[in-house]
Structure formats: C-alpha cells, structure tokens
Symmetry: C2
Subunit: 167 residues, 2 copies
DNA sequence: TATTGTTATACTCTATAACTATA
DNA sequence: TATAGTTATAGAGTATAACAATA
C-alpha cells in the first residue's frame, strides 16, 4: 500500500465497492434483456408498487383495495361480480379483499332483492372519507411519476400501457 | 344433449350475454383509476406475462430463469451475487431458481478459487442451445407487442419504463 | 467483523376446483 | 342447469432473519 493510499484510507472505506474487483459490480451486460418489454415492465412495476406503499403507508390500503373503493364510489350498487370483471380480479380472491374493507368499516354489502344470490356494494361515510384522503396521498405518487417522465411522457406511457392490455 | 340442443349449439355459443341487465357489464366508470400509472402497469404486465408463458410453453422457462440464462451467457464467470444485483433478485430467492437450472442441466456452479465463498456461473452446452431456442420463441412475443404498439410506440414504451425504474 | 450462499419462513398476488344458495 | 359468492388450496414472486463457511 502506498503512502497516498494510506492517507486516503477513510475515503476508500466510504467508497461504495471494493477497489480490487473481478468482473462484478461494474457493467453487467444484459444483452437482449434490455429490450424485453416484459423485463422493463416488471422492474418498473416493482418500483411504482414500492412508491405506492410508501405514499399510502399512513392509510394502509393495498392497490387492489384502493381500486375497489374507487369503483364502488363511482358505480354504487354494482355487484361483487361486476367489480371483479371491471378490475380483472378473480371472484374467489375478491371475497377476502372485500371482507377486509367491511371489517375496517369502509364498505358494506347488501343482498340484491331482485336476485338474492348477488350482493351490491356501497361505501360507508367513513369509506368515502378515507377514499378522499387516499386519493390525495396517491396524487403525490403520480406527481413523482410526472416529475420522472415529464407530463407528455406520462400521458404517452398511460396510453401505451392501455394499448398493451389488448395484447 | 338433445337433438335440438346439438343443432343449435353453435348459436347458443355465439349468443351474447342476457338482454335484461342491471347496471352491469355495460360501462363501469373507473374514474381516476384510468389515469393511475400503477394500475395500467399491473394490467399490462399481467397481459405480457400471459403472453410470455404462452410463447415459451414448450420450453417451460419462467421469466426469471430466462433472464438469468441471458445474463450468464453474456457475462460468463459472474458470481451468484453479481447476477442477483444485476437483475434485482434477492440472493435467498436466487438459490432455488439456480438449482432448477442446474437440475435441468442448463447451468453449472463452480467455486471461485480466489474466494471460496463465491460460485461462478456458466451455461452448459445444453443451456446455450435452450437459450437460443428460448430467445427465438420470445421474439414472437416481442413481435406481437410491436404489432400492438407500432415500432415507434414500442421503443417509446421501453424508454419510458427504463426511466420509471429510477423513480 | 463482513460477505457468500443457504435455509426457513411469511406475505402477497394470482389461479383452480368444489361447495352453497339461489335462480 | 347455470350463476353469485364462498372456501380451500396451490403456486408464483418477493421479503427478512439467521446460519455455516470463508474472508
């Protein structure tokens, strides 16, 4: 070790990776993977999901729960199956999700008299209140995304993703 | 099945849903959800994932496995940790994934003499062969995506998603 | 002490089959 | 027979903690 190296030991300690390296940590060639839309989607989605959990932490709603509250709010009286097909959720998976919303007092089920197999869904007063607050918190995330992509980029992305759903 | 049923089977199959409806099935208002990037990402990613499974069915590689094969192929001699950080996989989750690739004879581990804690990774001859076939099959998916978005749209999407990873 | 790979574990999301009650 | 909601269950994918071997 040279004198210069010794003098800078504290700097070296803070420096992220060790100096002596094999092929690692510098540049790993992802090859064709860089161009895979599926790969880019996965990475981006994990990032946005982390942003969602951070933004809504104080309320503690999952993305699925928020989406259900929004749909019930805009379409009062829909049945569980209606909401499921609208959001692409399996009926079997919807039951526990909905029961969580009921347990926390955000939504209620009501048997539909015309077809007693069906339950229509409504928001409680608390549910409407929590939804408003959740949407406000979610706005922060969308603002971060807009800052990251630019306003035009964000609109482009939304449109491209919407098209991709028809794949 | 009766004779009449059999005769009209094709008609019954084509018949759209029942005529009398409540609010359902027509237009559910998604409200602000339509503009949520996270929501659009989720739906699009599920769609592309389904396309991936369909395209690679005959080979039976998962997206994660394919990504690992690509990275090993382009960077022979990387350690497990190197691959993990490059692909954003937890080391703990990488172990079973890699062992599956070993068990099917696609990849091998080799203790690194300079640091006997580390394993370097290599593709077998079979692994290289399967990778080539998998990439060819995957091309079909990417072509479907290009058909769906247009060439320019596809490039735009990849770039926007890449930016989003830095959120 | 720190790091590599491993095990064990848990939680979420998604998927399928089978049940009930209603129609 | 068919449908709405439910239950049970299984499989990915992701996350953390703790351990043995090695540095």
């Amino acid at each position: 070790m040279s004198a210069r190296d010794a003098r800078n030991a504290h700097v070296r300690a803070m420096r992220t990776p060790p100096v002596v390296e094999r092929e690692s940590s510098a540049a790993v060639d992802l090859g064709p993977l860089s161009g895979f839309i599926g790969y880019r989607l996965r990475r981006a989605q994990l990032q946005v999901l982390a942003g969602f959990e951070q933004a809504l932490r104080e309320i503690g709603l999952s993305p699925g729960q928020l989406s259900v509250l929004v749909v019930i709010s805009r379409n009062p009286g829909l049945t569980q199956s209606d909401v499921c097909t609208a959001l692409g959720i399996q009926r079997a998976n919807f039951t526990p999700l909905l029961h969580a919303l009921e347990a926390t007092g955000l939504a209620t089920r009501q048997v539909l008299p015309a077809d007693r197999r069906s339950n229509t869904l409504q928001l409680t007063a608390l549910g409407r209140d929590v939804l408003v607050r959740a949407l406000a918190l979610h706005e922060r995330l969308e603002r971060r995304i807009t800052d990251c992509l630019g306003g035009g980029g964000r609109a482009q992305l939304a449109e491209l993703l919407r098209k991709l759903e028809a794949l």
